[in-house]
């Protein structure tokens, strides 16, 4: 069936073949004139018939800090998978700015193009030092040949120091990332995203397993990033969401259930039902 569809697609006369389209190039002048930096429209992802995302439509504004909440299995991580190219949706469209169709790009191209992602489970390069973790995440050419001869420029070194300062790991710079505490690993991973100078950061459950103090610091960190970057935070912790969020989206069963300020959302009867029913 799929093959047939693909064939039909090829026979359409109102458009040229995919391979003839000019290759999409990310440019620093990402087109966000109309406000949003990210467009998800009618995105559906199903796993063996089960719809993890169901006609999800969502817009993220440029420079915004958005929180996405929702019960377990609501499809939050799947949504991030779709945006970063890890999972291809069955239908729908995903645009970065006005023109860049993310569904056409590979994970690496999307990463290099300015979308950084923190995984739900903190993943850093455990064998490498904190410094090396950031070095590897530097924005810039990442080809095989280039990395064989690459050396840090003073400007890059400064950038690394700056990020070390931001994430509060300056004292740990020479320690292997594997020995860091859970919270420090989360920060390091956020730092790695920052090194890529992304336009959009996707942060999946940044405070899971953190102490109250660590959570507070993370909240400060994320709010300080908004403005220069657009940040999407997925989180369970309501307290945390309340401290950082200006706008909250509630996801449920793969679609948007409610959207608005934290107060509006919390008083929404549908949201109460979902959360109490959990």
């Amino acid at each position: 069936m799929k093959t047939l569809d693909r064939l039909r697609e090829h026979l359409r006369r109102d458009r040229v073949f995919d391979f003839m389209l000019p290759k999409v190039v990310f440019s620093p002048a990402l087109d966000t004139r109309h406000g949003p930096i990210l467009y998800l429209e009618g995105v559906t992802v199903s796993f063996d018939g089960f719809k993890a995302l169901n006609e999800l439509t969502l817009y993220i504004d440029d420079g915004e800090l958005r929180c996405i909440i929702g019960p377990n299995g609501a499809g939050k991580t799947t949504m991030m998978d779709v945006i970063t190219g890890k999972t291809r949706p069955d239908s729908g469209s995903v645009y970065f700015g006005q023109r860049i169709d993310l569904l056409r790009l590979s994970e690496t191209e999307i990463a290099q193009g300015g979308i950084g992602r923190k995984f739900q489970k903190p993943t850093v390069f455990e064998q490498h030092t904190v410094f090396e973790n950031l070095e590897l995440s530097l924005a810039g050419p990442k080809g095989v040949w280039h990395t064989l001869f690459a050396r840090l420029t003073p400007a890059q070194r400064e950038r690394i120091d700056e990020v070390l300062e931001i994430i509060g790991l300056t004292a740990q710079r020479h320690r292997p990332a594997g020995v860091l505490s859970h919270g420090q690993k989360q920060w390091l991973e956020i730092g790695m995203l920052l090194m890529q100078s992304p336009r959009l950061l996707l942060v999946d459950e940044p405070v899971a397993g953190m102490t109250a103090q660590e959570t507070e610091r993370t909240a400060e960190l994320l709010t300080s990033l908004a403005g220069r970057h657009s940040v999407v935070v997925v989180e369970h912790d309501m307290e945390f969401v309340r401290t950082i969020a200006r706008k909250v989206t509630v996801l449920h069963e793969g679609r948007v259930l409610a959207e608005g300020s934290m107060d509006e959302v919390q008083n929404d009867p549908r949201v109460i039902e979902v959360y109490l029913g959990e």
Partner: protein, 384 residues
């Protein structure tokens, strides 16, 4: 200077290189300059045996580069070794010329025996040494490229990758067993006479081959160390430890794996090419899956992810094998198996892990930074 900066952190490697240099001086002297009557004389047989160990060490180095650093467990690396060996064997075959049993001016004996009238197309050019050397590099490299391109692109990893590499070498073994393939079938290629005009029976040639193996091993070690210490090396370790993360940081993981795999296959091919003139034969049993598995055991015993550990493991295990197969041939495989089990359980970092103590393997201090770290402005950097 460059050497010093690059390798000052690498004690094990320095010891390996020093040992190679010492061997390269002492072994030829003891063989050529010390009279045979003297107890210090080193027989040509021993020289060749040592040369063989060095080829195995080079092969082990090649495997360690992809397994120890990138986590790609190839169970078919013997195939690249054998292909390099065959390319060299074809050159040596063509050098025999009219001196074969059948005295045919061009065709090797086995082709005359099969009633072939002319040289198959793929045997052309092998009468020239440079061409053979080119093929030693190109054939394993190309196979690794095609294989790796398909495997890594479809994201085959872990056990599955190991199994298909094993299948690859097995398939090649079956193919090379066939007479129609034109590589001498069962018997392979043998009865070599000379290389570059030097008789393979002469002591001088044997010493020369030993030296070539030692030099090649040293060069390959330096090249691997350079790779591992570069940012490329750190990317590769990152792929081993967190492949997805590396991808989302923006590296094309498949390309890194592919080029490392190709480089490793080329090293394995060169090892095979140096091996064949020393042992005087290459046959399909070199493709045997068991060989590739033994290779993995050498690296594990020596200590993977250190480069010099792999070389050490190859030399020690093969020395033990020479000893055992002479003394208690039927026990060798059991001994090897037991050794492997013991090492994996008690010495997960191999023999060098024992010496290294608590120091972490494959963790050179950050090269791009001054250890004191706090004064980034002072680093003018000699290479910058």
């Amino acid at each position: 200077m460059l050497l010093k900066r690059l390798y000052e952190s690498d004690r094990g490697g320095m010891i390996l290189l020093a040992a190679l240099l010492l061997a390269a001086i002492v072994v030829p002297l003891l063989n050529l300059a010390v009279p045979e009557s003297s107890p210090f004389h080193l027989s040509t047989y021993t020289v060749t045996l040592l040369g063989k160990y060095l080829c195995f060490a080079l092969l082990a180095l090649a495997l360690d580069l992809i397994w120890g650093y990138c986590g790609i467990l190839s169970l078919g690396h013997g195939a690249f070794f054998a292909l390099g060996g065959y390319a060299m064997g074809m050159y040596l075959m063509r050098q025999i010329g009219e001196r074969g049993v059948y005295g045919h001016p061009v065709l090797p004996d086995f082709m005359v025996f099969l009633n072939w009238q002319e040289l198959p197309w793929y045997w052309h050019g092998f009468d020239m040494f440079w061409f053979a050397v080119l093929m030693v590099v190109l054939v394993p490299g190309l196979l690794a490229f095609v294989f790796g391109w398909l495997a890594f692109r479809s994201r085959v990893t872990g056990v599955y990758l190991s199994i298909i590499t094993q299948a690859l070498t097995f398939a090649l073994m079956l193919a090379f067993f066939r007479n129609e393939m034109g590589f001498g079938g069962n018997n392979g290629l043998t009865d070599f006479k000379d290389i570059l005009g030097f008789s393979l029976q002469a002591d001088g040639t044997r010493v020369g081959l030993f030296l070539a193996s030692a030099i090649m091993l040293a060069l390959a070690y330096l090249a691997c160390r350079f790779i591992v210490n570069s940012r490329l090396g750190r990317v590769v370790v990152a792929i081993r430890d967190a492949e997805d993360r590396t991808r989302f940081v923006g590296y094309k993981v498949e390309r890194f794996k592919l080029w490392l795999f190709v480089f490793s296959a080329v090293l394995a091919g060169i090892a095979g090419a140096l091996y064949v003139p020393q042992v005087g034969i290459i046959n399909p049993s070199e493709f045997s899956p068991l060989n590739s598995i033994e290779l993995v055991i050498w690296v594990a015993i020596g200590g993977r992810g250190t480069l010099y550990g792999a070389a050490l493991g190859a030399i020690l295990v093969n020395y033990a094998k020479t000893y055992f197969t002479a003394a208690l041939p039927e026990l060798w495989l059991f001994a090897l198996g037991a050794l492997f089990v013991l090492v994996t359980i008690f010495l997960p970092r191999g023999l060098v892990g024992l010496v290294q103590g608590r120091r972490k393997p494959d963790r050179p201090p950050p090269r791009d930074e001054t250890p004191s770290g706090e004064t980034p402005a002072t680093t003018g950097g000699p290479g910058a």
